[in-house]
Amino acid sequence: MRSLLTLAYKLLVNDRAKFAALTVGLTFSVFLMVQMTSMFSGILQRASATVVNTGAALWVMDPAVTTVANSIPMPDYVLDAVRSMKGVNYAVPLYSGAALVKLNTGVYQSVTVIGLDDTSLFGRPRLLDGHIEDIYGDNAFIVVRDAEFGKLDRPTLGTAFEINDHRAVVVGIAAVPISGLFGIPTLYTTYRRAIEDIPSMRYTLSYILVQPKTGESIADIQAHVEALGYRALTADGFMHQITLFYIFQTGLGTNILIMTVISFIVGLSISGQTFYTFILENLDRFGALKAIGAKARDLVYVILFQALLTSLTGYGLGVGLCALLIALAKLRLPDYSATITYVNLSLALGMVLVIAAVSSYIGVRKVIRVQPFDIFRG
């Protein structure tokens, strides 16, 4: 079998023009597929940044909330009600909102403010500089050092600015696993200061972060929260909801899907057509092989191997090219949101295998139908 596959390999790669056309076509197709889906993954990942960065197991929210950025404040009694539920280990409030910072240069900059529970500081970021207890100081804020950090003129400890006409002082520089989606800096402070400094509606409670006693108690808590008229989602469930929102309730998912399908069709067309030409050009020789004694399955192995080899070569090159370009883009644009995930890679691999299957099916059908007698008849 190995020698037969070696023969298949040589038949394929020695036809350099066709092999190059196949490889370039598939590489381009895979590149586009991975690029499109990676951009979408990056966007989805960043859209769930607060959920990931906070690390809470269970999120209680208004049922109409679609993404973490669009919170709908809840009355304070909900927090007390949740705390009293069976199975809840502890529950803390979280504020999430937008504010306007006036820098010392006079420039205004939008920011996201996360207000942590004053007592526990649950969900606090990892500090790179400063001390966490300083967050209790007057006007204290912690700035996240991410791609947006420069938009606050790269503040250091002690830097002061105005936030909604209140004085703010930087007491810590922090890091978070994932930056936000909207390209604005993130500030952390206490829940109490957040609701004092930032104008808000009658209710101020954006989310309640819940730590259940056990995993089994999550379902009970969710049922009790639902009975109150609110919704409790696990972190994964919340991220899933955000994903669904971006896929189905914005044009983003549809556009990405269309681009991915177009990339697939481009790859399929190039590969299918080139492979078909390759088979047609060698059809009489495949017929001669049949006359000599090649079984139909030998020729199927040859064609499948050739289709698989080109597809996987194109896949590897396409993924490599995409990774390289994303890395280069991130060097220049730190907040460029594209992330290659295993799901992207699996999706592209699945699509490229479909391309291989369809291309080889066309070839196999042709080769199986050719009769050795046709070779004698010319």
Partner: protein, 234 residues
Amino acid sequence: MPTAAIHAHELVKWFGEGDAKTNAVRTVSLDAYCGEMLYIVGPSGSGKTTLLSMLSGILRPNAGTVTIKGQDIWQLSDDELAEFRLHTVGFVFQDYHLFPRLTTAENVAIPLILKRRPWAPSLSAALHYLDIVGLQARAELPPIKLSGGEQQRVAIARAIVGEPDLLIFDEPTASLDGDTGRRIVEFVRTHVLNETRCIVIVTHDSRIQEFADRTMTMEDGRITGVVEGSSRAQ
């Protein structure tokens, strides 16, 4: 008494049905012997290629039998038939059908590769047979770099590399000039034919008929004459 390499009995083949039915071969029986070079000649459309295809296990007859090495080959399944051809029959096609993207040696090694022999030993064997046909120095060239006569010899090397008992030549000199064609057939007569091997050649070319042991003439799907050739007489 020479050993029969092929025993064909009342072979019939038609194509199409109804008004479109064409009788290509009409009840043909023949024997071909080991050590014999048998020619089948006749005008275009006389059925000689169809007969050759049935004799070599490529085209299933509508009636009749073909027995080779005691085996009625048309009782075999398609896979068994392919296996039979691979081990027993060598083909030299009119247009050679060499793979232009493979080297000459790789082309010759193809029957061995189809037999699942490892790559390196197959190439070594191919070099040996290229040496027999005088082309070892051209082993690494692609066939398109060779002349028509050389390509024909490569096709012969490919046909004999598996040591088949039966060799089938379809118009071996059709693409060659007169001298080259004659030299090729003379080479086959001298170096390829042996006492255990039977060679069947379909040809229009009267210039090479001096090398035949027997020449069968076909017309309208029937054998209309058998002539003992000069080679056997010598």
